[in-house]
């Protein structure tokens, strides 16, 4: 049986006005965890909002699992209001996480709250075999950057509004860097528009990229089919893969980004 149950909050830390890190006890039944996987979490024991909220693993060790939550609406607000010592109900880890391939040159790209799972990833990428470059983009103040700074060769930080950081899109740094560096693997998570540009750039350059995609979910385990990702099927066709079960990690070469 897979894990669906309760776990106690052991630590909580507001790192921005609207971003909170929550660590819970790692329960044995959770089993192995892979960066890029997520948990489907009940926002409130009161049962409203009704559906659980998918939140990526943004770090883990033997004893704890850490989430980084950006408060957007009712669900994430309620999640953020739990106190240390309280228990939350959750199931996971769920989905296909990142494939951590052995590669000399690796690039990590994170945008907005999409940096949360990338923190979990860089902490578990085998250091000795890889040189890691990182590009992170934010609307306002950058956060979670220390975890990356201590583990990477090169770090580019973008912010749309805060001075002292690069302005513009993370893809600008990407386009510069791939000219001079032969990345063997790129990992990315962020807003859809960012992932679309990243995938386009890297597909054209022939560099493999693992994208962590996002879609509104219900069951989180592949049963209800409300979360889809349009992916390629042979040369001409497409199929609608389940974001939660077949993803959330998809290779950039598999995904079809429709213009909406």
């Amino acid at each position: 049986m897979r894990f669906d149950g309760f776990s106690k909050i052991v630590d909580k830390d507001w790192i921005q006005d609207d971003v909170v890190m929550i660590s819970i006890e790692r329960v044995a039944e959770m089993g192995e965890i892979i960066p890029g996987q997520f948990f489907n979490i009940q926002a409130s024991a009161a049962g409203y909002p009704m559906l659980r909220r998918p939140i990526s693993v943004s770090g883990y060790d033997e004893k704890t699992v850490t989430f980084t939550v950006k408060v957007l609406g009712a669900g994430t607000k309620q999640l953020s209001e739990h106190r240390v010592g309280e228990v939350i109900k959750l199931m996971g880890p769920l989905g296909n996480g990142f494939e951590r391939v052995k590669a000399k040159k690796v690039l990590i790209i994170g945008g907005g709250i999409g940096v949360a799972p990338m923190k979990g990833l860089i902490e578990k990428l085998e250091q000795p075999s890889s040189e890691i470059d990182v590009i992170l983009g934010f609307k306002d103040h950058p956060y979670l950057t220390d975890s990356f700074r201590t583990r990477c060769q090169r770090l580019a930080l973008f912010s749309e509004t805060i001075s002292g950081f690069r302005k513009g899109y993370v893809t600008e740094a990407l386009e510069e860097w791939i000219k001079t560096t032969a990345y063997e693997m790129v990992y990315a998570c962020g807003p859809l528009a960012m992932l679309r540009r990243v995938a386009k750039t890297l597909n054209e350059a022939g560099v493999p990229v693992q994208l962590l995609m996002e879609e509104k979910m219900a069951c989180g385990i592949g049963a209800c089919l409300v979360c889809t990702c349009k992916t390629k099927k042979d040369d001409f066709n497409f199929k609608l893969s389940r974001m939660c079960k077949d993803g959330p990690m998809f290779y950039g070469s598999e995904v079809i980004f429709d213009e909406n």
């Binding site: 409203y48 659980r52 069951c219």
Partner: protein, 302 residues
Amino acid sequence: MKTNLCVDLNGLVLKNPVTTASGTYGFGREYGEYLDLSLLGAISVKGLTLEPREGNEGVRIAETPMGMINSVGLQNPGVHAFIEHEIPFLRSHDLKIIANINGNTIEEYCEMAQILDHADVDSIELNISCPNVKNGGLAFGTNPKVVQEVVSRVRKSTSKHLMVKLSPNVTDIKEIARIVEAEGADCLSLINTVSGMAIDIYKRRTVLKRGSGGLSGPAIKPIALKLVNDVYHTVKIPILGMGGIATHEDAVEFLLAGASAIAVGTANFSNPKAPVEILEGIQRYMVQMGYSSVTQITGDLK
């Protein structure tokens, strides 16, 4: 006190009255990792079509107060793949298999019923009420003349236990229920989702690409309960009741309103153990209220 949980839906005998609703449980595989499927009375599988379907593109869900609107649109591997790959898995558990079928035309419904007549399923659930497909679906379930024809012809296509799933999106569900009974259905299941809409006020567009979809979850429970009760007073064939059931109290309400068994749908999403918790709760309720058989609860309203 020993409680007897067995129910007979007019030929479909379930070891207990708790089933899972079509489209919310896939073919059981995913939820089988969270509970022992053999604890369920039956699984109604994801709506099947003759050919495989990819379903609707674009956003498929809008969450609403205590509910959700879905626009999945019958994504399924087709009836043949179901028979080949899913029945053996389901059969390895102690439960009844209900095959939910959907057609574009009456002929398609009949062809599927004929195919399933030779397959190892325990019941065919004729879905004439799916709101998420362009042609057919709801159109079948809301027009009394069409209901009569489709049920009558599907009845002639199979000797399997036949259940017909009713839509709440009709003016008079009693009329439809009467026709379905008269045409030889063994059992009724209700309700399917309620037509609903959600709008993104900043994009000034409907959240779902198709405009509307099917509302499910606790938000529709009072509607479902009333319709089950109406139908209970109209027909003699048994009712598989559903619509917003999330707790054993909800389930007992449906039994009291006239359902012989119940289905858990959307509640699985927020609580994968809901069916088991509901079954345990029904047993506690029976002991507390002095019912020895779950069949005694059906319609036992003072």
